[in-house]
Symmetry: C2
Subunit: 281 residues, 2 copies
């Protein structure tokens, strides 16, 4: 069991990791070795103190170098769920692995893509966020897949290997995945409808029958990730010390609300790491 | 009347300034052109995301360059008091000037030097924090002066021009001020005692009779700076949006409490600037 698990490799997660490292805590950080797509794509950042008019690319490289020199390695697994135990937490990843920690820092960002009508209603009843967790349930069935980032394109192929038919809504450019059973739809669906379970994915001028819908997003809603977590308008409710309503679980960065700013995220990651160090004592 | 006055040129103040500038607000920032002594003296900073193992000197230079390129100039006046008006604030400086703003961000840091016993009790009754405000009151009298930083040494000379006798407690090295009426005491006083007003400055093995005591510090306690401000253990009480109990007055950085970290201060300055922008709407 490690001291802490950090979920997310954006500025909040990185800041928390650097501070936990400075505090000599044992921790894991889950995310992407490429860190944050949002940082990397930023054209120019003007108000990050100490790095005048830095480009996202340069910023991202600096952060990677800093993590490397601090001996911090980002684990490239996607967290599927966080479960509070009697003492500590179990974190399950989409890769089917299981980790235990005494504390957790949620730094999973905020999904800039809005939820689709019916998405939350059918979550767990045909709507899934994890290809590797639930893909096998749709063997020889028809599914819709909404994918927000090229980084998750490999999951589409994985799903297409099971499903009979895939209606793919790619929200990125240069779609490369090609399968006979994939039909690409270049419009946003307006809603998901059904009865007991998902039945249709509805578009402005048509609808397609589906047995399930996969929402492949960079970040998963905190409330879906952690059962019983107190959220408000999709943001984790935190105190000044970044504590949540769950003992030992802290949150930092965009997932705690606006302003969605790098400086704010870094600051909150720092505070969360200090609060965790305090908590572990 | 400007939109906002920022008090303090440490990381919180700088971060707030950069963000207010990005938000096209009209503001003033009071502090030192040398920015923060605390930053400049830092040997190595390990956990500031984006600047691996940066020295305080390099960090400070980067911040100065960033402010300059953003067209932000720090006003080198020391704020003596902040007064809430019906709509907005009046800020008085020790230089005797007066400024008005619709909002205020308090980023005045925290004084690492502990208060001396009796200091708060006699504040306004012989204990003063402002040489230029109160110096003239001690013409031909005997005063104690506790000075925590070489940066304020010029104020000692100013005081010595009025007073008959000055007992100086310098808390820095290389004292340069020389006057016939200055006696240097190289120990920390333990307390300030008196009746209706200050009478003695007490040291471990002696005491000296004084009519007043000047505490010359880089930062003044927020509660002394702003009347009616809600503080707890010397820290400004703030909400998640950095708002205080006074409408339109926000606080950020070390003055809001631990952790005393650059990253945290920068993050809070960013949030405060966004909250001010929101407030001005």
């Amino acid at each position: 069991m490690v001291d802490c698990i950090i979920i997310g490799s954006g500025l909040a997660g990185i800041s928390a990791a650097l501070t936990l490292q400075a505090n000599r805590k044992e921790f894991l950080i889950f995310g992407s070795k490429a860190l944050s797509e949002k940082i990397e794509k930023a054209e120019k950042i003007h108000n990050y103190p100490g790095l005048p008019d830095v480009s996202g690319k340069v910023f991202s490289e600096a952060l990677k170098a800093q993590l490397e020199s601090a001996g911090i390695e980002v684990k490239e697994e996607k967290v599927a769920g966080v479960y509070a135990l009697k003492s500590g937490f179990t974190v399950l990843t989409q890769e089917g692995k299981q980790y235990e920690s005494r504390a957790v820092i949620l730094a999973c960002g905020v999904e800039s893509v809005r939820q689709i009508e019916g998405e939350e209603e059918f979550s767990g009843r045909g709507v899934s966020y994890c290809a590797t967790c639930d893909g096998f349930l749709y063997k020889d069935k028809t599914i819709g897949v909404v994918c927000t980032t090229k980084r998750l394109e490999h999951e589409i192929g994985y799903l297409a290997d099971f499903a009979k038919r895939v209606y793919l809504v790619p929200m990125y450019k240069n779609v490369e995945v090609r399968r006979e059973n994939i039909t690409i739809i270049q419009k946003m669906p307006t809603k998901i409808v059904g009865g007991k379970r998902v039945e249709q994915l509805v578009f402005p001028t048509e609808e397609v029958p589906v047995d399930g819908v996969f929402m492949l997003r960079e970040s998963v809603s905190p409330a879906i990730l952690v059962g019983g977590l107190h959220t408000e308008n999709g943001h984790v409710v935190v105190g000044r010390d970044m504590s949540t309503n769950l003992n030992g679980l802290y949150a930092a960065g965009d997932c705690t609300g606006r302003p969605y700013q790098y400086t704010k995220a870094a600051g909150e990651g720092n505070i969360a790491a200090h609060s965790v160090s305090e908590y572990l004592r």
